[in-house]
């Protein structure tokens, strides 16, 4: 079992969760993810990016948006509860080097994924410009963290309830139009946003990286379910990615594959919302039944 040490809502349906996972905390680098299972008997495996880690405390931080059954369930857990499984760190780390000026674009909960890479980019002595967007003020997360790690930060809301009114793409376009030299762009958010960012940077030949979120099962290259079309060839997001050149990614196929189980997902969420207490009680019951006797060596 992997105990939850902290759990706090950052926005409606978006929760920051710290989990004890000493080995993962020690190994992880920006851009990598974990696969978690919330329930030991019938739970599914979901990939979630590691937002932060504390190797000394042996904890990792994930920021979870409750959209499907499993993520909604995770967000019902509190400090003192536990996840059945946490495995990682998986995927290739972000490519971090001194590029010059780097723009980090985070859309919605995607900001949580962009944040660790922004920190690493800053540490590699880049001039980091952050553009963080959300539908409204309530949904905008990690403002303080992003402000602390960027040299300049632009906040965008669709409805203008906070920061500037508009989309992250408009801000990026504006920077380019104003003659800001941009050497590298990292964009993470909903698929349409990442595609739109790719469309903005492509005519200017600005190297743009996106972190993809396809459906995944094992996360170690075994199932091939997370295959994405990049530059006309199939890549596995779990081992070849999750980050790819945005100008090479086929976003249409990615969006289609991500819709594959929509009816099933909608049903699962409806069932959960019909009776959330029972489902959470089941998880907690299962956790008692499945106290794993095996524990990894202490890495502290």
């Amino acid at each position: 079992m992997f105990p939850i040490t902290e759990a706090k809502f950052l926005a409606p349906d978006v929760k920051r969760i710290c989990i004890e996972a000493p080995r993962v905390a020690r190994q992880r680098q920006a851009g990598q993810f974990v696969i978690v299972r919330v329930e030991a008997e019938h739970g599914e495996r979901v990939p979630l990016t590691i937002a932060d880690s504390d190797p000394d405390a042996g904890t990792i931080t994930i920021i979870v948006q409750g959209v499907g059954k499993t993520t909604k369930l995770i967000n019902m857990l509190e400090a003192g509860d536990a996840l059945a499984d946490v495995v990682g760190p998986l995927g290739e780390p972000s490519e971090i080097e001194h590029f010059g000026t780097v723009v980090v674009v985070g859309g919605g909960v995607g900001t949580a994924i962009a944040y660790p890479t922004a920190v690493a980019m800053k540490a590699a002595d880049n001039h980091v410009i952050g553009i963080v967007g959300a539908r409204n003020k309530e949904l905008l997360i990690l403002e303080d963290e992003m402000r602390a790690t960027t040299d300049e930060l632009h906040l965008m809301t669709d409805d203008g309830s906070y920061g500037e009114q508009g989309f992250v793409t408009q801000k990026l376009q504006q920077l380019i139009d104003n003659g800001v030299t941009i050497d590298h762009v990292l964009a993470i958010g909903p698929i349409p946003m990442m595609k739109a960012i790719a469309d903005v940077t492509k005519p200017h030949g600005i190297k743009t990286i996106v972190s993809l979120n396809p459906i995944m099962v094992d996360g170690t290259g075994m199932c091939g379910g997370c295959r994405v079309q990049v530059g006309g060839t199939s890549k596995f997001a779990c081992v070849d990615g999750p980050e790819f050149d945005a100008h090479e990614v086929d976003f249409t196929i990615l969006a289609q594959r991500n819709r594959m189980y929509r009816p099933h997902e909608q049903q699962a969420v409806a069932d959960l919302e019909a009776d959330p207490e029972t489902q959470v009680a089941q998880i907690k019951h299962c956790q008692l039944q499945h106290q794993h006797p095996e524990v990894g060596p202490k890495t502290k």
Partner: protein, 476 residues
């Protein structure tokens, strides 16, 4: 207890057949197909053994199970002793009794097979293992005094488990590390419930725990912990890499990204490990197969497992699409036979050339091409060549690609000094299983390429012997 008949009488007994679930019924459930022998049938079958002075069957077994000896115990009604005898060489008898290709191993070597039909060794093995489990009196072999040496086993499939079992008996401190959340590797993600119930694997793993083997799930060696850390920081004196050949091969055909197109690995993992067959409870979805058309591309055991799973998920039509003829099919005859009985339709000498989809990105059909057989190729099998102008489109909702797997590169790519061949498999000495990195051994599918459970177990045993030598002498 039965008395032994004279050899001539024994040879008159026909091979006893395995009772199985009715085909029509079983095609709708995930319960085991083979129901197991009862003691009367088992003893009658055991009578057929000729008790050869030089038992060819044991030589034919990659782990060297003492067949003649355990069959003797069966005949005497000493089933627990029979099970203990098997356990001296085989840590997973309930598993191998179910999934070994016995016809190519022990039973293929059986003297009876020359003139009659071979002794049903696999069925007898399963019988005693199941009997032992039912009594709860598992006769685990004695463990040698602790040596103080630590061994890490990477991967909990058949090769890893077999190696762990032998090493722990020799007194070493053995830890098996598994990337998934459940122990068993391909035994739990790849082989369906109706052929190998997960409880059987769990039982064998529990026995190994009792023998002293430690298990850690959710550890991806190369990611969660590196080989350097295992050897230098965590104090493992030797490491056995048994990660298998789990990288799915695709056909690189147009439309392979469509919704409804799976690798066999993903399809079987969702159905087995993630329990998608249990629609009421499982949170992992499987694309709707009920009342739809499903085709599996390939002719191996994995293809049979996938197509039979599809039937049980309610497929209206479940097809095998195989580019050669049934004669060349690599799947076990028993599996092909079971599939046919259950209603699987075989499109032999057919090959897919394109997957077709609708505007929303879902699979709607497959373009197939008819094939004919030409001269034998390097593999000795007759080479399939396309028949010009024979393409046609078949409506299809789910396609499963089961044309084989390659080497997973995770450990190799993060372990300096561990050399691989041009296909990415780890280079290891055939006898000693030593790799190019000191203290690191490798075996099973990650060295040999995709093979069978029992061959992987054989490799695990060989590695255990060699690791023990290394730990004892300290010489590399």
């Amino acid at each position: 207890m039965a008395d032994r008949l004279p050899p001539k009488e024994r040879m008159k007994i026909p091979r006893q057949s395995m009772p199985e679930q009715d085909a029509e019924q079983r095609a709708c459930n995930f319960e085991e197909v083979n129901l197991g022998l009862d003691s009367a049938i088992a003893e009658k079958e055991a009578q057929r053994c000729l008790t050869c002075a030089d038992p060819k069957c044991s030589h034919g077994c990659p782990v060297g199970v003492q067949v003649r000896e355990f069959v003797d115990f069966v005949l005497e009604g000493e089933y627990l002793k029979a099970a203990a005898k098997i356990r001296e060489d085989n840590v997973l008898p309930a598993v191998t009794g179910r999934v070994c290709p016995q016809e190519n191993q022990c039973e293929g070597a059986c003297v009876l097979s020359k003139r009659f039909t071979s002794l049903a060794i696999g069925h007898l093995e399963r019988f005693v293992a199941d009997y032992e489990r039912a009594t709860g009196q598992v006769g685990l072999p004695q463990r040698a005094p602790a040596t103080g040496k630590k061994v890490a086993i990477v991967g909990s499939g058949p090769a890893g488990l077999s190696c762990a079992g032998d090493l722990v008996l020799k007194g070493h401190d053995v830890t098996v590390m598994e990337a998934l959340h459940e122990i068993g590797g391909v035994l739990v993600y790849g082989i369906p419930e109706f052929r190998l119930p997960k409880d059987i694997v769990k039982g064998e793993v529990e026995n190994m725990r009792k023998m002293g083997v430690k298990f850690e799930t959710n550890v991806v060696v190369g990611k969660t912990v590196t080989m350097d850390q295992l050897q230098n920081e965590e104090g493992f004196d030797a490491v056995f890499v048994a990660t298998g050949a789990g990288l799915p091969k695709f056909m690189n055909l147009p439309g392979e990204h469509l919704g409804g197109v799976y690798s066999a690995n993903e399809f079987l993992t969702r159905v087995n490990l993630m329990k998608a067959y249990d629609r009421e409870h499982s949170d992992s979805p499987i694309y709707e197969c009920r009342d739809r058309n499903v085709a599996v591309m390939g002719g191996g055991n994995t293809a049979m497992d996938a197509v039979r799973s599809a039937l049980r998920l309610g497929a209206k039509n479940a097809y095998i699409v195989y580019r050669r003829s049934e004669e060349e099919m690599p799947a076990r005859a028993e599996e092909v036979h079971h599939a046919k009985d259950e209603g699987v339709q075989f499109l032999n000498l057919h090959n897919p050339v394109e997957f077709l989809g609708n505007d929303e990105g879902y699979l709607t059909g497959v373009k197939l091409q008819k094939m004919e057989l030409a001269e034998p190729d390097d593999s000795g099998r007759r080479r399939p060549v396309p028949v010009e102008g024979s393409e046609f489109v078949m409506p299809l909702d789910v396609a499963v690609i089961a044309i084989g797997t390659g080497a997973n590169p995770l450990v190799q790519s993060t372990t300096p000094g561990l050399n691989t061949n041009k296909w990415g498999y780890i280079i290891a000495d055939e006898e000693s299983m030593r790799t190019t990195r000191e203290g690191v051994f490798a075996g099973g599918d990650i060295v040999s390429g995709a093979a069978t459970v029992i061959l992987a177990m054989g490799a695990g045993r060989k590695a255990a012997k060699s690791i023990h030598e290394y730990l004892t002498t300290g010489e590399w």
